[in-house]
């Protein structure tokens, strides 16, 4: 598939999960393709980085489900800040462990999973839809019932994938990519290189967490995570990220930046 093929399968109003973490191994070429499309009113679920910032800047997001949004080396994401401070996006802000639990519940086809996280905090007051659940056993515990975060689509970026949707991460962290895929109705993997399945054996089998049963489409996207990191293929492009963050502060600079950024062929 191409990025445009993936976007053609998405619809306005969908709930879309984006893999990676902060400014690390984000499916940026797919995010750019969404920015070029007429998709709108998305609910985005993410361990947020510039994917969230760009989609907010492009006015693609109605609701954001998140635990944090950060560029890592630049702690605060400028477009996220601007959108929050303008009241321009509805938010479901959660503890990041609750986010993992919600994805896992969806992957397991459970309505919720219990957790202690959230008790006593304003997670429960800013999200009045959240409920607690009493343990049916003798302990008497009252815990947060983290609802399943079901996704219409998941977008993740991998180092390698085969044409069937098996994907391999070669960096130190799988993040939550397989959970995003398993929680989604349809999951799409972009990758640095499509390879024959037999070549996966060059790295340990533990790198094969994203599997074809959870994936519906594969896109070959060399440098597809740029400017976020995609270890060990490349690190974060800090100079580019700094230009991104600086351009965000000024409407004219941003217009120029985003026009050039989106004109990069995919």
């Amino acid at each position: 598939m191409t990025e445009a093929d993936v976007v053609a399968e998405l619809r306005s109003g969908m709930t879309i999960g984006i893999g990676g973490w902060g400014s690390r191994r984000k499916p940026m070429s797919l995010v750019r393709a969404i920015l070029r499309s007429d998709l709108t009113d998305l609910t985005v679920v993410s361990f947020g980085g510039p994917d969230v910032g760009l989609l907010l800047a492009g006015k693609k997001v109605r609701r954001l489900v998140f635990g944090f949004v950060s560029l890592d080396s630049i702690p605060l994401e400028p477009h996220f800040r601007a959108a929050r401070e303008a009241g321009a996006v509805e938010v479901t802000e959660l503890d990041e462990g609750m986010l993992q639990w919600g994805l896992y519940a969806a992957a397991c086809r459970l309505p919720f999973l219990p957790t202690r996280a959230g008790l006593g905090s304003d997670v429960l007051t800013v999200n009045p839809q959240l409920r607690t659940v009493a343990s049916p056993y003798d302990d008497g515990e009252e815990l947060v019932a983290m609802p399943a975060l079901r996704l219409d689509a998941a977008l993740v970026h991998a180092n390698r994938a085969d044409p069937y949707g098996n994907a391999q991460f070669l960096g130190p962290d799988p993040y939550f990519d397989d959970l995003f895929c398993a929680a989604a109705e349809r999951a799409y993997v972009s990758c640095e290189r499509i390879v024959p399945t037999s070549s996966f054996a060059q790295a340990p089998v533990q790198t094969l967490r994203v599997q074809r049963w959870m994936v519906h489409g594969v896109v070959e996207a060399p440098r597809g995570a740029h400017f976020t990191s995609c270890e060990p293929d490349y690190g974060r492009d800090e100079a580019f990220q700094t230009r991104y963050a600086e351009a965000a502060g000024d409407a004219g600079n941003w217009a120029e930046f985003i026009e050039r950024y989106l004109s990069v062929p995919v």
Binding site: W21, F47, G48, F66, G67, F68, V69, S70, P75, L76, F80, R81, R84, E85, A86, G87, E93, L94, D95, E96, G97, M98, Q100, T115, R116, A117, G118, L119, G120, S121, D122, V123, T125, V126, G140, E141, E142, L143, P172, D173, P174, Y175, F176, L179
Partner: protein, 250 residues
């Protein structure tokens, strides 16, 4: 070379992990990161530390350098396994903290439309009800030590108690370290107490810089000075480039 305030803060933060045993120390910020390495290199040798990415690392190493020996794999999702097991003690850096230790890292102002959006809840709600938590405030002032935080991310003693036994079961706030002093919650109703002032700081200064009334019992002791060994570890092994002084001046 005289002892700097930053070095006193490093030791005061390191003391948070004394006696913790074989648990994961998770420092957020420069001074806490130096402090956790110092604690392990001296009086808390069983602590687990990460390389700041996805691995657990042995040994003592300099800020900005990779660690010498990897002893385990700890990608983000397994941090929650450790966290929910309780075998972790985090030191976070709140933008606001109140007298019961409620802490805010999410937003200043109304959550629906903040005047200043910050990082988000991150792991603060789960951290505080699952395992010990301490806090580090590099610039102590009345806008950080506030009477009421705008968003409760890290759960304080009053909110945990109101939420019931599942919230209080593993809840424990150890200490708060600022550039002016050390604070704990060792009072009958867990209000924040001034435990010590750093050398060169008066109690009045701390009181004036705090937006709520601190519990103060009797003569407030001074925060202890680093030992010679600790100073040498900080200056020559852990932080030879002096990154600590960018977080705390003087």
């Amino acid at each position: 070379m005289s002892i700097t305030r930053a070095e006193i803060c490093v030791v005061a933060c390191a003391e948070a992990w004394r006696g913790d045993g074989e648990i994961l120390a998770s420092p957020i910020g420069t001074v806490p990161a130096i402090a956790a390495r110092l604690a392990r290199a001296t009086f808390a040798p069983d602590l687990l530390l990460t390389d700041g990415e996805a691995c657990l690392a042995q040994g003592v190493w300099a800020m900005g350098e990779p660690p010498p020996v990897i002893e385990g794999w700890l990608p983000y999702r397994t941090v929650f396994d450790v966290l929910w097991s309780g075998r972790r003690h985090v030191m976070m850096a709140p933008s606001q903290i109140d007298r019961y230790g409620n802490a805010n890292i999410s937003a200043i102002g109304d959550h629906a439309r903040p005047t200043r959006a910050l990082l988000g809840f991150r792991g603060a709600p789960g951290n505080t009800v699952n395992h010990p938590t301490s806090y580090w405030v590099p610039r102590h002032g009345p806008r950080t030590f506030v009477s009421t935080v705008d968003v409760v991310c890290g759960v304080g003693y009053d909110r945990a108690a109101a939420a019931g036994p599942s919230a209080t079961r593993f809840h424990e706030l150890r200490r708060v370290v600022s550039n002016l002093g050390v604070f704990d919650f060792a009072t009958p109703d867990h209000r924040m107490r001034l435990a010590s002032v750093h050398p060169g700081v008066t109690v009045d200064e701390v009181v004036a810089a705090t937006g709520f009334s601190l519990e103060i019992d009797g003569d407030v002791p001074q925060t202890r000075l680093p030992t010679g060994d600790e100073l040498s570890l900080i200056r020559t092994v852990i932080d030879p480039r002096g990154t600590r002084s960018s977080e705390v001046r003087g």
